[in-house]
């Protein structure tokens, strides 16, 4: 069933479920199906409309697709070599395995995959609008209750475990509440209010909700990821720039570090050259390395990417167009909620995490999981979280009819101690000023991070007192609080890691530290405690 788009005002919705999934991107969809197949009664609550919301729906994403066989371990090893030593081969292998099973399920269900030159189904790529529309159909078919336009604002707890969540119908402002045996956060990464593809709802509220329940975060320093886009657009898709050359407005070629004309915006060291060029002045590109059939493949294979050019009436293969690097926060960054158990439990009883809301250090390490690894991770982690949550709910028994001690956990942005006088837009602008600029976040420094932390700590203190809203106006302040909290964790992790590794670049510590690779676990919403996990602790965790 789905809810009507116009629920009458002030009619609160109260539901009970075995498993509540928060978020309707691919991870939430796979989690809902897995929990349902495990016998659970499932509710899925989406901030937007399940099928169009999130970063996948408007995109075209590869997967990390490696068929079973001898080559799999080699593929994992090759990928691991690129992860800055942070990833975990066991997790990588099981992600490849589980996500491959998911792709086969899609084929069985009749998802319209293309065929390769040999006539076999090509299952390694998913077209976002088609994929997420298809997944909505599968989830409804599985009997899941879908609540569209029902953002969650906070988790519920009985003191021992997470027992549900509460939020609002964003149309009417009415309250909803779902009591559940277990909750899965599939709320996506945090895009820090950047206008990138499908990212406006990705505001870090899931991270904040979980942290309020006592969950830890990890990998938040691996967030210096930026992707090229035509200037002023949402199209942060790197693939076409593989065939780009880069110029100044007058057509003068920009030179790379070796004095050659700068080409291929996604390869090798070109990213650093583009950053340097952008810090000096506006940069223009032209996709003039795409010749012959490539132009046709780009037009037909990446129709979303072509939209800015179509609409501006320019030919990207012949004309120069201005570009920018868009910051991608934890969406293409790696950080998120720390996973404590093999079934994607957070360590807080009853609370599971899937997709980009989770730290992807185990599969992507210190580098970006891009679309491919993150897309496979969404399938695999969604599946495990769905099974884990269903199993937890079964052990715990049906939600008791009268739960006397259930309490909501939400605080900042939701229950200010004083007035509602802090404008969430000002909070969002202040966050962006610290985490978006290339010279603050692509290239970090200890001094710059400390300044940013101090400024955002000040805003956090004001938010505790003055950030909140009424009715449907409760969503924005809570989103602002989520992004602000995520930014503070990101900065804390970045300050703690006194080295450069992958997406974390410190001008004052330009090299990786020799010796065992560490992870930085962050705990706490107000005061952030940083716990250093050595390589030993990490591998023990993986083995348990």
């Amino acid at each position: 069933m789905t809810t009507s788009p116009t629920t009458p005002a002030a009619a609160p919705l109260d539901l009970k479920a075995d498993v509540l999934v928060i978020g309707g991107g691919p991870a939430g969809a796979w989690a809902a199906i897995a929990a349902s197949e495990a016998g659970a009664r499932v509710v899925l609550a989406d901030k937007g409309w399940f099928g169009t919301s999130g970063a996948t729906a408007p995109s075209n994403t590869g997967t990390w697709c490696v068929p079973p066989g001898e080559d799999r371990r080699d593929a994992v090893e090759r990928r691991w070599q690129r992860t800055g030593g942070v990833a975990d081969r066991t997790w990588m292998l099981r992600t490849v395995d589980q996500s491959y099973r998911g792709l086969l399920r899609l084929a069985e269900w009749g998802y319209p995959f293309p065929r390769d030159d040999q006539g076999n189904l090509y299952i390694a790529n998913l077209r976002g609008p088609d994929y997420m529309r298809f997944m909505r159909g599968r989830v409804l078919k599985a009997g899941v209750t879908v609540l569209d336009h029902h953002p969650a604002l906070e988790l519920l707890s009985d003191g021992d475990a997470v027992t549900g969540a509460a939020g609002i119908d964003r149309r009417s402002g009415a309250d909803w509440r779902v009591e559940a045996g277990a909750v899965i956060l599939a709320t996506g990464g945090c895009a820090f209010f950047e206008r990138t593809m499908g990212a406006s709802g990705l505001t870090g509220d899931g991270l904040l909700m979980a942290a309020e329940a006592g969950a830890a975060l990890s990998g938040m320093e691996f967030t210096g990821k930026y992707t090229l886009a035509p200037h002023g657009t949402t199209l942060n898709k790197g693939l076409p720039f593989r065939w780009a050359s880069f110029h100044r407005q007058d057509g003068t070629p920009i030179l790379d570090g070796t004095g050659e004309p700068l080409v291929n915006g996604i390869g090798g060291t070109s990213e650093k050259d583009i950053v340097r060029a952008l810090l000096e002045g506006p940069v223009y590109a032209r996709l003039d390395l795409a010749l012959g059939a490539l132009q046709d493949w780009l037009r037909r294979g990446q129709p979303n990417v072509m939209q800015p050019y179509e609409r501006r009436g320019i030919d990207p293969f012949a004309d120069l167009f201005r570009v920018e690097l868009k910051p991608e926060g934890t969406v293409r960054g790696t950080g998120g909620l720390r996973i404590a158990t093999h079934d994607c439990g957070t360590g807080v009883p009853g609370l599971y995490v899937a997709g980009d809301a989770a730290s992807r250090e185990d599969v992507a390490g210190a580098v970006s999981g891009g679309g491919a690894v993150n897309s496979s991770w969404a399938i695999a982690s969604g599946w495990w979280a769905g099974q884990g949550a269903a199993s937890h709910a079964r052990r715990r028994g049906a939600p008791r009819r009268f739960r006397t001690h259930v309490a909501p956990l939400g605080a900042v942005g939701l229950r200010p101690s004083d007035s509602h006088s802090l404008d969430p837009r000002d909070v969002m602008a202040a966050v962006r000023a610290e985490v978006a600029p290339l010279d603050r976040n692509y290239i970090r420094s200890g001094a710059g991070l400390a300044e940013s932390i101090s400024r955002l700590d000040g805003i956090w203190a004001r938010a505790i007192q003055h950030l909140g809203g009424e009715g449907r106006g409760r969503l924005r302040p809570r989103e602002a609080a989520g992004g602000l909290a995520a930014a503070r964790w990101m900065l804390a992790g970045a300050l703690a890691r006194t080295e450069s590794r992958g997406m974390h670049r410190r001008v004052d510590h330009p090299d990786p530290q020799p010796g065992p690779v560490r992870r930085y676990s962050l705990l706490g919403v107000h005061r952030i405690e940083v716990e250093v996990l050595g390589a030993e602790a990490v591998s023990q965790e993986a083995a348990s």
Binding site: T52, D130, L239, R300
Partner: protein, 109 residues
């Protein structure tokens, strides 16, 4: 962001009001979708492809409207341009089996 709702093309089906992930539209008294929260638009172009009559136009600029008019969109044949690129038609999904991205993945290496 979303800039044009063509009242001539629109059949008042409400699909855009329902499927917009950022909850941008509202129905007016006559049942026509109106752009109620334009600045919330995330410029994902998905309302366009779900529209069964290609009645919506989302300009490519993410940060604010560019002021494009319905007649310009019509004259430049931009209604439904993304749906045609994908192979979606009349609000129905289609065309993913003709996706050429596999060739790009091979060529990008």
């Amino acid at each position: 962001m979303i800039e044009v709702v063509s009242s001539a093309r629109c059949i008042r089906c409400d699909i855009c009001v329902r499927v917009c992930p950022a909850d941008v539209f509202r129905k007016d008294a006559a049942g026509l979708p109106v752009i109620a929260h334009q600045d919330d638009c995330q410029t994902c172009f998905l309302c366009e492809i779900y529209c069964p009559t290609d009645a919506l136009y989302v300009a490519e600029a993410a940060d604010g409207p560019i002021g494009i008019t319905e007649s310009e969109v019509e004259a430049r044949d931009l209604f439904g341009v993304y749906a045609r690129g994908l192979g979606w038609s009349k609000g129905r999904a289609g065309g993913s089996q003709f996706d050429t991205t596999q060739h790009l993945r091979v060529a990008q290496v």
